[in-house]
Amino acid sequence: MTTVLEPPAVSPSRPLMEPRPARLVGIDKETNDTFTLTLEPPEGVDARFRPGQFSMLYDYGVGELPISISGDPERPEQLVYTIRSVGPVTTSIVTRHPGESLGVRGPFGTPWPMTAARGKSVLIVAGGIGLAPLRPAIYHILRHRGDYNRLMILYGARSPRDILYKKELAAWSLLPDTQSLVTVDYGGVSWRGHVGVVTTLFKSIRTQPTETIALLCGPEIMMRYASRELQSRGIPKQQIYLSMERNMKCAAGFCGHCQMGPFFVCKDGPVFSCAAIEPWMDLYEI
C-alpha cells in the first residue's frame, strides 16, 4: 500500500505562508539608512526564537523578505528587527509608523551554536548590518555568562556614521572578561578609533584558538576573508560559523530560490559551519 495517497499525519494549525499582523510599537534610527523596529508579536503566536533565526517580514501590498531577528531571545514579548533600507520593500518597511502593522512569519532557519559553544570562548566577528543577527547571541551569552569563557566582539563598519548599537558596544567593552573592538573602513578626523578592515582587529584576539568558537556575519566577501584569516590563526573550520544570505520567497524549503548547491539557506541555514559551507562558497556563481 502506498503511503503517499493517505492524508497527512500532522496538519499545521496555521497555514505556513500566511503572515500574521504584528503591531509596530517603536522605531529607532541607528544610522542614516538603518532602523531598529520593535514589534508586538502577533496575537496567539509563540514568538520565541533562537539567536540567528529570521522572520519573513511582510509589508502589506509591497512585498516580503527575510530579516534576522536582532532582539533578546529571552524577551519574546518583543520582536526586534534592525533593517537597512536597500530596496523597495525595506525602504517601505522602515517608513511605517508606530501603531501600524507588519506581517510576520517564522521564525525560520538554523541558529547560532550557543549550546556547542558552552565552556568555550566566543569570538563574534560582525561586518556592517551583520551585527544585527549576532546581537541575540551576545545577549544570550551575557545572560548565561558563566556558561562561556572569554567573549570577544569584533565589529567592522563602513564609517563611524554607520556603526550600529553604539551605546551597547561601549557598554559591552566595559564588562569583565569581554573585549569589544570597533573598526571602520573609512575614518574621518573626528574618529579616534581603529581604521582598517575587520581582520586588522584579529591581532588583538586574546583567546586560545583551539577552544574558541567564532561566529561570523556580514557581506559574503568579508566572511570569506575573515574565516580564512581565523583559520590561519589556528581556529579550526569546524569551530567557525557563518550566516549566509540568499533570495527567499517562502523560507520553508519549497520555493527553490535560496539554494546554494545542495543547501537550502532557509532550512539548512542560514547558520552554517565553515567546514560545511566553505567548499561551496569557493564556487563562483553557485
Binding site: 537597512r84 561586518g127 556592517g128 573602513d185 578592515v197 566577501i221
Partner: protein, 158 residues
C-alpha cells in the same frame, strides 16, 4: 628606557618574532625610544624617508590629505610597525602619520639600518622578509577596503 629595557622591548616585539638574538642585539644598538602625544605629526606626505618605528604601545593614524579633507586610511597600534618606506632607498613617505593616543615606540634611523645590513646580507634578508610581510598585509587589507563591501549596492564600484 635603559639599554636593557630597549633590548627586552625589541625581543618581545611581534614584528621581530623569530629573529635570532644576534639580530636583536644589532637592532638594540641602533634603536632609541621616542614618545608622541595626541595630534603630533610623526611624518608628512612627501617627507624624505628617515625613520622606521616599532610601536610598543599607542595608536597612530595614517592619513592622506585632499583639499579640505583628511582621509584616515588606516590605524596602527601596539606591536605593529610604521614607516617601512625608510628601509627602501629614495622612497618618500606616502602618507601622513598622526598620533591619536599617547604612543611609545622604538625608532631606527633608516639609512643607518640599511648600512647595518649591507655588512650582513643574511641579517638584511631576514629583516627585509619581515618588511615584505607587513607590506603584503597592508596591501591585502587595503584591497579589501577598496571593495567597499558594506556599500548599499554591494560595493566595488557597482
Amino acid at each position: 628606557m635603559t639599554a636593557v629595557e630597549v633590548h627586552t622591548a625589541l625581543a618581545n616585539h611581534p614584528f621581530l618574532a623569530g629573529l635570532p638574538e644576534s639580530d636583536i642585539a644589532k637592532l638594540a644598538e641602533l634603536a632609541f625610544e621616542v614618545r608622541f602625544q595626541p595630534e603630533q605629526i610623526l611624518f608628512r606626505e612627501g617627507d624624505p624617508s628617515s625613520f622606521f618605528y616599532l610601536i610598543v604601545t599607542g595608536h597612530i593614524a595614517l592619513e592622506l590629505l585632499a583639499p579640505g579633507r583628511v582621509f584616515r586610511i588606516e590605524t596602527v597600534g601596539d606591536g605593529e610597525d610604521l614607516g617601512w618606506s625608510s628601509l627602501l632607498e629614495s622612497v618618500n613617505k606616502q602618507f601622513q602619520a598622526r598620533c591619536l593616543a599617547p604612543t611609545r615606540a622604538l625608532a631606527f634611523d633608516g639609512p643607518r639600518l640599511i648600512a647595518l645590513w649591507e655588512g650582513d646580507a643574511e641579517f638584511g634578508f631576514r629583516l627585509m622578509r619581515k618588511v615584505v610581510g607587513t607590506v603584503a598585509d597592508r596591501l591585502r587589507a587595503t584591497r579589501l577596503q577598496l571593495l567597499d563591501v558594506y556599500d548599499k549596492r554591494g560595493g566595488a564600484g557597482q
